[in-house]
Amino acid sequence: MSDFYHQLTPRRWARGTKTATAVYFRLTGTAFFTAGIWCLLQNGAQVFKSGARDFYRTCLTHSLEVAQIGRSIVNYLNKTQFRSAAIDSDLVEGICLAHDLGNPPYGHPGEAMLNEMMRDAGGFEGNAQTLKIITEQLHEDPEGDQGMKPSRAFIDGILKYKVLWSDSSGENKFLYDSQKSYLDFAATAAAGITTAGDFSECQHHELGPTHVAYSLHDLSDGYQAGFVTQKRSTAGPPKTPLGDQEVRYLETVMAKLGHREDFDRFLASRTGKFIEGVRLVKRDHPLGTRSNRYRYRIAVDPEVKAEKHRCTSALRLISYSALRSWSSLNSKAGIF
């Protein structure tokens, strides 16, 4: 790896100190396992309210799955496309482990509700909350400074949306206004990078593992719980009917399988195919000549992308059912 790689990516927030990349990326990922807040994720809703059933995904297992799939994708790309380890799997793993830390209770419906209540006070966003927890809450320096000091590459990977709350529509997908400095830090390094999210590692997080885990495993959960059924896939919730393609896909899958557990196994077998659908392609970037990080972008095989899209669409059935059961709970409790 070139000096450039070392100079730029491990630059840390705050004092701008540098640590050896290999050590630091590993430590960042490991730090999440030792953080108390990590345990809270086990009672976070992924698809279902926690405690509803014995075997299903929670935020914690989802994060672990995402980290594992992320590592597999890096491994696959490094073995097939590069002779040397061009992509840092420790960095990707750390980013994957961290990506759901800021999720509020009740998952996305909970996020939407908090955002609604915070509409006059800066909004609420799970991804922005993740960054807030990492940079303000986790760990404490010997000097008494609270918050981790993540590397530039790490912050870049964590940031999913590159727009501030006051510049956005305020619905979702934004950062808090107070986080402008992190956005600037990630976007403008010494070498004149203009937009954040340019590392190939960051694109991994955005396009790869979390979507694989989401589309496959959550669908499997939904199917096992009986939320996704053949009947429902054709009827669909009134506001978000499934497209013809998604219905056909679900029907073929379900026709093949007689038993619910088979569906889980079937989807598990898709994980490998999804991982192999990821490619790196060259692109033009001002820094492409200096670092592999900027020379490539992630491309997903069109066939795999289409299948992933079908799975994700089928998931709308689950979100709809989950949302409905929660809102009926809420109206019973008389909160909303």
Binding site: I37, L40, Q42, N43, G44, A45, K49, S50, G51, G102, P104, P105, Y106, L114, M117, M118, D120, A121, G122, F124, Q129, K132, I133, A333, I335
Partner: protein, 47 residues
Amino acid sequence: MKHIDINDYTEVARMICDHFAEQTDISLPKIYKRLFDPDYGTFYDLV
């Protein structure tokens, strides 16, 4: 520990929001019941 200005709506709202955001699916209904259901919980819950 960060000190906040209790007259500043934005800061207070953010603090409350953070508090609820770090709850879990289990602890949040407990908080609700403790606040609004007189029959729920024991005094050990408060410790």
